[in-house]
């Protein structure tokens, strides 16, 4: 094993064991990650690096480890999506309007991670306000995927919106990362970047201190290199939080326990509506392979129907912008954030600050949201969308009468070239066709790296579960992971 870069290649579980066995120190592990980050700046995965804080936290972890007082994530270096407020560390949401925002408080999810002993490496780049599927709408320039097609020098996207976290995990810059998922923003970049990404049940992880996009859909989750690592991270991220009124009063089980119990006798639903016209053959082929893997391991395959699937993206592009237009009303140039200069009255202050502070995609979504909520259109768009959202949730409830989990592709395509879809919003939105239904219904789902395209880019499979059935989702995901034996990793073209 080549040292000293090897510790960055540990899985989170391996690092945990190595730290406890004193085979590596938290300081060494953190220094290795910081070194890898410095080498990989061309990926633009981080908006803010926090090497000093990381070094301090690692030293504190080493003292705990030496004293035999290690907590579950003691000394594990993590990357945090720049949507989570971190006290005294700049938090931008990928937006110019928050370019200089330094939160005076800590999000519940990150506080939980620090309380478990984790180390903050830095804040990861992302689509502005999590609005995007390629991490190209960031005010801090696009994230570049560590992956490239074979024999190609073309930069591709890592997916989004949690693309900086996905790139950092895939390139071994950290041992795990946090993401947030409103329509697929954890699972789609995980699939495109060859890593594991999990969106828990709505209400499982607190939204307190997470910059709000669409409050009825937003949910934080782990992004890691293995399913076990996702379970370990989720153990710390999940909690019941009095500060979030939608945090659900259900105790947090041990997600790691039982993860390798297999899928024998499990009923795995395959929804016929997820076979879409015009999708690349490779997507369908991988899905069939996944079904076969489940069958071989003793699962019963059940064909199910989710008839309202085809309306999910349209519902999402009413509900999410509507909620965003309301949530983003807080950016007014007065209390925090960018403030336009040379204005004559307070309305002009608002209008100019918001025009200068928000990028094109955010402005577009705020305007769509404002329109569908405006007098005369509210019933025709917003209420209608909420009713169809109910039908989509019902689809899942009916399907789960016949099966325990669902197996689907994660995305309709693999990573695409930077700039390929930026001119056509609707083409970009279609990336989330297989993930968005889950947010609308509030369910847990995981994306597992399961194969490569002919050109050598990763593809993922998605397991969807019933509300608060994360343990079963992880178990099924683990079975897919074992069968897929995905061992590919990006060629380190950025390190010369």
């Amino acid at each position: 094993m080549p040292l000293p870069s090897a510790p960055t290649e540990f899985t989170l579980a391996e690092a945990r064991d190595a730290l406890c066995a004193k085979r590596v120190s938290a300081a060494e592990l953190t220094a290795a990650c910081l070194g890898a980050m410095a080498e990989a700046r061309v990926l633009n995965a981080f908006i803010t690096e926090t090497p000093e804080r990381a070094t301090e936290m690692a030293a504190a972890s080493d003292r705990r480890l030496a004293a035999g007082e290690a907590r579950p994530l003691e000394g594990i270096p993590l990357a945090i999506k720049d949507l989570f407020c971190t006290k005294d560390v700049r938090t931008t949401a990928g937006s110019r309007i928050l370019e200089n925002f330094v939160p005076p408080y800590e999000s519940t999810v990150t506080q939980n991670l620090w309380d478990a002993g984790a180390v903050l490496l830095g804040k990861t780049n992302m689509d502005e306000f999590a609005m995007g599927s390629s991490s190209e709408t960031s005010w801090f320039k696009p994230v570049v995927s560590p992956w490239r097609a074979r024999h190609s020098n073309q930069d591709v996207v890592p997916g989004g919106s949690s693309g900086g976290s996905a790139a950092a995990v895939a390139a071994n810059l950290c041992l795990g990362a946090t993401g947030t998922d409103t329509g697929g923003s954890i699972r789609q970049p995980a699939a495109l970047s060859g890593i594991v990404g999990m969106k828990p049940t709505y209400g499982r992880c607190s939204r307190w201190g997470v910059v709000a996009f669409a409050s009825s859909l937003d949910q934080a989750g782990p992004m890691t290199r293995t399913v076990r690592d996702a379970a370990i991270l989720l153990n710390a991220m999940a909690s019941v939080d009095p500060k979030d009124s939608t945090s659900v009063n259900t105790s947090v089980p041990d997600y790691e326990q039982g993860i390798d119990h297999g899928v024998k006798g499990l009923r795995v639903g395959v929804p016929r509506e997820y076979r879409i016209e015009g999708a690349p053959h490779e997507i369908d082929a991988l899905w069939s392979k996944g079904v076969e893997w489940m069958r071989e391991q003793g699962a019963d395959i059940v064909e199910v129907s989710l008839p309202y699937t085809k309306y999910a993206l349209s519902v999402y592009y009413i509900v999410a912008p509507a909620e965003a237009s309301s949530n983003l009303a807080r950016y007014d140039g007065v209390r925090y954030g960018l403030r336009a200069t040379d204005v004559h009255d307070v309305v002009e202050l608002y209008e100019k600050s918001r025009a200068e502070g928000f990028g094109a995609e955010v402005r577009r979504r705020i305007l769509i949201g404002t329109y569908v909520l405006s007098a005369g259109y509210y019933d025709a768009y917003y209420v209608r969308a909420q009713k169809i959202r109910a039908l989509i949730a019902q689809d899942f409830a009916r399907a789960f009468e016949h099966c325990d989990v669902l197996l689907t592709p994660s995305t309709p395509c693999s990573a695409f070239a930077l700039g390929a879809k930026t001119a056509d919003p609707v083409a970009m939105y279609l990336n989330d066709v297989f993930t968005v239904t889950v947010n609308l219904a509030g369910l847990p789902a995981i994306s597992i790296p399961a194969g490569l395209t002919e050109t050598g880019l990763p593809l993922g499979l998605q397991v969807i579960g019933k509300a608060f059935d994360e343990k079963l989702v992880l178990r099924a995901g683990h079975a897919i992971e074992e069968a897929a034996e995905f061992r590919a990793s990006p060629a380190r073209w950025w390190a010369r």
């Binding site: 925002f101 005076p104 709505y202 209400g203 009825s216 009095p242 009124s245 659900v248 009063n249 309202y308 085809k310 309306y311 349209s314 592009y317 009413i318 237009s325 009303a329 007014d332 140039g333 007065v334 209390r335 925090y336 954030g337 403030r339 204005v343 004559h344 009255d345 307070v346 309305v347 002009e348 202050l349 608002y350 209008e351 918001r354 025009a355 577009r364 705020i366 305007l367 769509i368 404002t370 329109y371 405006s374 259109y377 025709a380 768009y381 209420v383 209608r384 969308a385 909420q386 009713k387 169809i388 959202r389 109910a390 039908l391 949730a393 919003p425 609707v426 219904a441 509030g442 509300a467």
Partner: protein, 95 residues
């Protein structure tokens, strides 16, 4: 349904986002592209369906109406672009 340029000006005003005159027509085109696509929702029969406002199947939590945190005026004002003492400063509102 589609938006014309006047509607775009109106919603930009409601959203408090300045839109230069030469941005109005392109924005109308972009929004109409999205609206054309979501028009498919009109074909769904929604008779008798209740709107889904929350996926969380629990009563909204209540807490005692007491002060839990406070006295953090400096921290609260720290990110404000313009302040005077503990006040946010805005352009003159009343003539």
């Amino acid at each position: 349904m589609s938006v014309n340029e006047n509607t775009v000006r109106h919603i930009a005003r409601l959203a408090r986002i300045a839109l230069a005159e030469d941005q109005v027509a392109p924005m109308a085109d972009e929004l109409n592209g999205i609206l054309r696509w979501i028009a498919q929702l009109q074909e769904v029969d929604i008779a008798g369906v209740a709107p889904l406002t929350s996926v969380v199947n629990q009563q909204l939590k209540m807490r005692d109406d007491v002060v839990t945190e406070g006295g953090e005026a400096d921290a609260l004002m720290a990110n404000a672009p313009r302040t005077e003492d503990h006040f946010f400063v805005v352009p003159k509102v009343v003539e």
